[in-house]
């Protein structure tokens, strides 16, 4: 009763006040974009990278997917990100060097985009910190897509069909260079590969064949067979530790690798350890695509390690000499079987990752 009296007494003032506040709120806020549920297995760990100013949203990812496959983002409308990063090849292109809009080959081999959510420094030399910063490079590189971000803005605006998507993703229909790269980065964060036979093994849903099991033990150690130490570098279920190593490809370096970024002598010929997920699909191999097959890669680690001051200590004996793994034919077969068990056919056929103009 007392409450009611009080309400009556102050009721009108309060109601007016509330109406004003709610009206003001409705005016400035809108139903914001919906968070995108990034789902991944617990064994991947939560050391993921999402900048505070670019949360992953359904609308942002949908826009990013369109932009990833948008050829208008290249100078002569012939190339998109998807030209060099094809879903069916786990977002690589099968070439030793990729071909940009003007026909010039790239300096390095195109990289898989699987599980970039966990990567902090992008490219073979780790020179781009974050997916947003990374995307600017191919977009504006004079030979890859060859177009300034400002020209991309003008072309997308002229295309007419993007304003609604930018509004949905960022609450403003204005197309800006920053929003273009943010949306692309959001889409890339969703490219999670976690349904290979190896994943089903980790989830207890699949038994490795004896050969796969042996390869798994050679790779990670801890089994009845010897460890050949792949996991010292390609460690953990994501098959990478984000470190830079010289894995013995050369002793004289045509490409300085990490040293090109840091200027340090100890970084010459060091490259980022990359994921081996879907590795059977991403030939040719290494930063310069020098190996056409996984057998050649295994022959390298087995018999051809090049020495030199920056060769990883992991690949040396205690006296500091290169220590090739001397794999037997049987060990190579087993390792190949395990590497093939990293192929995730769900990932390469997932309709959420394909060109939206096609499906």
């Amino acid at each position: 009763m007392i409450m009611r009296k009080g309400f009556l007494k102050y009721g009108y003032g309060l109601a007016a006040c509330l109406a004003f506040v709610m009206g003001a709120l409705a005016f400035v806020s809108r139903p914001g974009p919906t968070p995108y549920p990034l789902s991944y297995p617990g064994y991947f760990g939560n050391r993921i990278n999402i900048p505070a100013d670019n949360p992953t949203t359904m609308e942002g990812v949908a826009l990013g997917r369109r932009l990833f496959y948008e050829k208008r983002l290249s100078a002569n409308n012939t190339v998109s990100c998807g030209t060099c990063h094809l879903q069916r090849l786990a977002f690589t292109d099968g070439r030793r060097f990729s071909i940009g809009f003007d026909g010039t080959p790239t300096k390095r081999n195109a990289m898989s985009l699987a599980n970039s959510l966990w990567v902090r420094n992008f490219f073979w030399d780790g020179r781009a910190s974050g997916l947003e910063a990374q995307a600017v490079t191919p977009l504006t590189d004079p030979h890859e897509m060859g177009q300034s971000l400002d020209s991309s803005v003008v072309k997308l605006r002229a295309a007419g069909s993007y304003a609604g998507a930018f509004y949905a993703a960022f609450g403003a229909a204005v197309i800006t260079p920053e929003r273009i790269v943010r949306a692309i980065a959001q889409f890339e964060r969703t490219l999670i590969s976690a349904d290979a036979p190896y994943d089903r093994f980790l989830r207890g849903e699949y038994h490795f064949t004896p050969l796969e099991q042996e390869g798994y033990e050679l790779f990670f150690g801890g089994g009845p067979v010897r460890s050949v130490g792949c996991s010292n570098c390609h460690g953990g279920p994501r098959t990478l530790t984000e470190t830079y190593h010289n894995n013995g490809l050369d002793s004289v370096f045509a490409d300085p690798g990490r040293a090109g970024v840091t200027g340090m002598a100890y970084d010459r010929g060091r490259f980022r350890v990359v994921t081996l997920r879907n590795i059977a699909l991403t030939a040719p191999y290494m930063h310069d695509g020098r190996f056409a097959s996984l057998s050649q890669v295994l022959d390298h680690y087995s018999d051809h390690l090049a020495g030199g001051p920056t060769l990883s200590p992991t690949l040396r004996d205690t006296a500091g000499r290169p220590e090739p793994l001397h794999l037997t034919a049987g060990e190579k077969k087993a390792l190949l079987a395990f590497l093939n068990a990293l192929t995730d056919s769900t990932f390469i056929t997932d309709p959420r990752f394909s060109d939206p103009k096609i499906n």
């Binding site: 780790g126 340090m264 100890y266 920056t310």
Partner: protein, 158 residues
């Protein structure tokens, strides 16, 4: 010709950049330690096994002595919220390992973890040096990391 100029420039920048260890984070005085700085600090020698199981003697500077210079909360100050501090060691290849601040402190343990710059009285070999961590008595040498470039003292914030 252009390639040559580029190569020379790269070599110059490479040699100009001497290797150092940066001590940062929850410190009152950030440090950038060179080989000469370490040589001038109190020296500690300890033993550790290499991957072949052979023991070697390593010398360098105890992390606790580095922390003293950098103004890290050690000894009597290492209580309360300061016990939620950890030390993140970063290496040139981007490898990282963590210690809790307490496990490096002389009021908690007699074990002395060092930033080593010599093995058997000689500079560390290429690929390992100039600076590495040595944790005496550790069963697995995975924290005896190579080519240390940074030591950051941080607060666990969760």
């Amino acid at each position: 010709m252009r390639m040559l100029v580029f190569a020379v420039a790269l070599m110059l920048t490479t040699f100009a950049e001497a290797q150092t260890v940066k001590v940062t984070g929850e410190v009152t005085k950030p440090l950038t330690l060179s080989a000469a700085d370490l040589a001038a600090m109190p020296r500690t020698t300890t033993v550790a096994k290499d991957k072949g199981g052979v023991e070697h003697s390593f010398s360098g500077v105890a992390l606790r002595d580095i922390f003293k210079d950098a103004g890290v909360t050690t000894g009597r100050q290492l209580r309360g919220e300061n016990l939620a501090k950890y030390v993140l060691v970063t290496c040139a290849d981007n490898y990282q390992v963590v210690f809790s601040l307490a496990e490096l402190d002389s009021s908690f343990t007699d074990r002395v973890v060092i930033l080593a710059d010599q093995m058997e009285g000689k500079p560390l070999p290429a690929g390992v040096g100039p600076f590495r961590i040595i944790v005496p008595g550790e069963k697995k040498p995975a924290r005896n990391c190579f080519q240390v470039t940074g030591i950051a003292v941080k607060f666990a914030k969760d």
